[in-house]
Each structure stands twice: as structure tokens, then as C-alpha cells.
């Protein structure tokens, strides 16, 4: 199963390097799942967040109320409780999800509420004059939102949105509590399955897990910084919090 096995055999049994060699292929599989979870959740959150934000800024009474209540509820409660509601709660309604799907939906719905607030803040920070000018040129309301308001709002939202991506990556680790086979869970499973002289290495396993998270977070932060530089427009900068 471990393609490095022949090489690992040559390392001293019970040493830290041997441990790294033995378990890193499986940990990387877990990392791949973590990324899959993060990307799908953030995408779901993006679509949901945008709709919620439009609902909160431009929506009529019932839409405004629903989207506001959703955002307040989600932001006021722990993501873990939300995951429990989805994973353990939905089967009561005959909806059974595997842990990964439940985690994607749970983290995505959670992120939507936070992203909605970034988008709302950005949309509202765009002066009313932009809308007036767009209407004066003859654009319809929907065209004005599509061509003038959103392009500006989306650019302004990149810095807080970058933070949200990193947050989701970090918070995806809670999925391990409902048994999603992501990085944390893989670490836990490996640590519990070690036998013989290599057993009881939880601390070291989680150190390696921590190191992988650290590298992922730092590398992605750097990439997002570069992205920000590329799409920057004079006068539309927004400070990264």
C-alpha cells in the first residue's frame, strides 16, 4: 500500500523518520480529501453567500427577513452543532448522507453565512452614485447590479474572502468528529492502528499532521496574496483584515 515501503524498511524501526516515511502517503490522501472538502464547501458558500447578500441588500421584506435570520442563526452557533444537525439530524427525515457529503454541505452552508456578510459589506460600501450613474446611462436594475455593482464588490471582497478560504481550510478539520476521512481523521486512525514497537505515537503523528496544515495554510496565503496583486485596480483596494 505504501509505495515507499522498501525504502522505509531501511530506516531504523521506531524512529521519527521511519514514522514519517511509513505514514506520509496515507496522510497525503487525507490531505487530498481535506482539499476536496474545502474547495467544494467554499464554492457552495460562494453561491449561497452571494444570494444571501443580494437578498439582504436588494430583497423585499420576506426575502430580507429569511436571509437575515439565516445569517444570524448560522453565525451565532458553532459549526460543530450545525454538522451534528445535518449528519445525525437529517436521517430523521429519511435523508442519509455519508460523512464527506454531510461535511461539505455543513461547512458550505456555514461559510455561506459568513461570505454573505463580506459581500453585503462590499456592496453597501459602493456609493449610491454608481447605481444612479448606471441607471442614467440606461442600464436596467439587473444590468446595473451585474455590470457595475458586483464587479466592484467582488474585487473588494477578495481580501476578506481569502481569509474565509483559509478559515474553511482550517475549520474543515472538525469534519473528523463526524468521521470524514480528511487529514485529521486519517491521523487519528493511523495513530490508533499502530502496533508493536511503533505503537502509541499519537503525539508524533499529530505533529506531522500539524506540519502539513501549517504548510498548506502558509502556501495558500502566499498564493492568495499574489492573486490579489494581479486583480488589483487603483482606487478599489481594500485592506486585508
Amino acid at each position: 500500500m505504501n509505495p515507499l515501503a522498501p525504502f522505509c524498511q531501511t530506516l531504523e524501526e521506531g524512529s521519527f523518520v521511519r514514522l514519517v516515511c511509513d505514514i506520509s502517503p496515507r496522510l497525503l490522501q487525507g490531505t487530498a480529501t481535506t482539499f476536496q472538502l474545502t474547495v467544494l464547501a467554499i464554492a457552495l458558500g460562494l453561491v449561497g453567500g452571494l444570494l444571501l447578500a443580494l437578498g439582504r441588500v436588494y430583497g423585499k421584506k420576506p426575502i430580507y427577513w429569511l436571509s437575515t435570520a439565516y445569517v444570524q442563526f448560522v453565525r451565532g452557533t458553532p459549526v460543530l452543532v450545525q454538522l451534528f444537525l445535518i449528519y445525525y439530524g437529517l436521517p430523521a427525515f429519511e435523508i442519509r448522507l455519508d460523512p464527506l457529503t454531510a461535511a461539505i454541505i455543513g461547512l458550505g452552508l456555514n461559510s455561506a453565512a459568513y461570505q454573505a456578510e463580506y459581500f453585503r459589506g462590499a456592496i453597501q460600501s459602493i456609493g449610491r452614485g454608481q447605481m444612479l450613474a448606471a441607471r442614467a446611462v440606461g442600464l436596467t436594475n439587473v444590468q446595473a447590479i451585474g455590470y457595475v455593482i458586483l464587479p466592484q464588490a467582488l474585487r473588494m471582497v477578495i481580501p476578506p474572502w481569502s481569509n474565509e478560504l483559509i478559515y474553511t481550510l482550517k475549520y474543515s478539520s472538525v469534519a473528523f468528529i463526524i468521521g470524514t476521512p480528511e487529514l485529521m481523521a486519517t491521523g487519528q486512525i493511523i495513530a490508533s492502528s499502530l502496533r508493536g514497537p511503533g505503537a502509541f505515537r499519537h503525539f508524533e503523528v499529530f505533529l506531522i499532521v500539524a506540519f502539513i496544515y501549517l504548510v498548506c495554510v502558509l502556501v495558500i496565503s502566499k498564493l492568495l496574496d499574489l492573486l490579489e496583486q494581479r486583480v488589483k485596480i487603483p482606487g478599489l483596494e481594500m485592506q486585508r483584515a
Partner: protein, 230 residues
């Protein structure tokens, strides 16, 4: 009706869990505050090597998922032969994690104070330390309060992660009741509502504090627009 009865019977347990959650939150915020203020001061006023060291500390704890930190410390302390109850481990880990975030809040507040304040204090003959103690900090702490209140609502929710190391706070109480009764939705909606109440109650109390100590022209910026505490 039977189900509502179940909630009614579970309330004492949930109340017990909520107490643990609140205690944990207060303790970790205290640890974070005690560490966060010096860290911020060191980052602004410290010599270069200290600044680098502190920035590394801050960067590390902010980059780490809190759950991973919990596991590393939980097993790490045992590995080093230190026996600390799970609750103590939680306070330590969350405190360190929060100190990194809080130091950012305080650093921002300190840097928002105009240079002239420090100069004026020095001109009066105050030492650097005195100037920080009597001029900078009283202003910075006021400026930081709104953002700090965001940190409160953020960590309150994050405390649910101690589920993983077996501390029986609100979420775990709910989970145990669920295991026993097989009732999921009502229990976790109740748990969620308690979190909501705690979030808004705490934020309201901090707002009172803000008003009690408020000084015209020294109001901090609320960062709610940007959602998560960053």
C-alpha cells in the same frame, strides 16, 4: 408533547454544559488577554529580534487549526509526562490560540493611536514605560473593545471543539443526551439556541462595558462587516 418534555428534562444537563462552556470561554479569554497584550506591545515597541520572534509565534498560532493544536497538546503533554486535566489543556491551547488573535487586535489599536500622544507624554518627562502604561494602553484598550467583543463570540463557538478531547461542555452534553434518547433535532436546536443566547448576551454585556468606559472620540471600529474574527 412528549418530545418537549424531553427537552424540559434535559435542561438541567444543558445548563450544566453551558456553565462549562462559559467558564472555559472566560478562562481562555483571560489567558489570551494576559499573553496578547504583552505580545502586542512587544511587536510594536520591542527590539527587532523580539519582533521577529513574536511575529513567528503569532503567525504559527493563527495558521493552525485549533482542533489540531488541541490534539497535539493533548497527546504532547502526556508524551512529556505532564498530566493536566482535559479542561486545563483546553484553557491552555485556546488561550495560546486566542492570544495570537488578541495580540493582532491590540496591535491594531496601539498603532491607531497617534504618534503625538507618546511624544507628548515623553515631553512631560514620562519614561517610555510610563507613557505606554498611562497614555497608550488606556486608549488602546478602549479602541480594541469592539473587536475584542468579536473575539468573544468567535471563541465561544470554537469551544465546542473540545468535544474531541472529551470535555463535557454544552455540545458534548447535547451529544450525550442524543446518544441516550435518539432525539437529534430538538436537542441540537436547543443547544444552538443556548449558544445564540450566550453570543448575544455576552456581546451585549461587552457593549455595556464599552459605554461605561466610553470616551468621546475614542470609539473603536466594529468589524462585524467582515464576519469572522481575523
Amino acid at each position: 408533547m412528549e418530545r418537549l418534555d424531553l427537552i424540559w428534562q434535559s435542561l438541567p444537563l444543558l445548563w450544566e454544559g453551558a456553565r462549562v462552556t462559559v467558564t472555559l470561554t472566560i478562562c481562555l479569554l483571560g489567558v489570551g488577554l494576559l499573553l496578547g497584550v504583552p505580545v502586542a506591545l512587544g511587536q510594536v515597541y520591542g527590539p527587532r529580534p523580539l519582533v521577529i520572534l513574536i511575529s513567528g509565534y503569532e503567525r504559527f498560532f493563527r495558521a493552525m487549526p485549533i482542533l489540531v493544536l488541541l490534539m497535539v497538546f493533548f497527546y504532547g503533554l502526556a508524551f512529556l509526562g505532564v498530566s493536566l486535566p482535559a479542561f486545563g489543556t483546553a484553557v491552555l491551547v485556546f488561550g495560546l490560540h486566542s492570544s495570537a488573535y488578541q495580540s493582532q487586535i491590540f496591535r491594531g489599536a496601539i498603532q491607531a493611536i497617534k504618534e503625538g500622544q507618546l511624544l507628548a507624554a515623553r515631553a512631560l518627562g514620562m519614561s517610555r514605560l510610563q507613557a505606554i502604561r498611562y497614555i497608550v494602553l488606556p486608549q488602546a484598550l478602549r479602541l480594541a473593545l469592539p473587536a475584542w467583543s468579536n473575539e468573544y463570540s468567535g471563541v465561544l463557538k470554537d469551544t465546542s471543539f473540545v468535544f474531541a478531547i472529551g470535555v463535557t461542555e454544552l455540545t458534548r452534553q447535547g451529544w450525550q443526551i442524543m446518544q441516550r434518547t435518539r432525539e437529534v433535532f430538538l436537542i441540537f436546536i436547543a443547544v444552538a439556541l443556548i449558544y445564540l443566547v450566550l453570543t448575544y448576551l455576552g456581546t451585549w454585556l461587552l457593549e455595556l462595558l464599552e459605554r461605561r468606559f466610553g470616551i468621546p472620540g475614542l470609539a473603536g471600529q466594529r468589524r462585524e462587516e467582515h464576519g469572522r474574527v481575523v
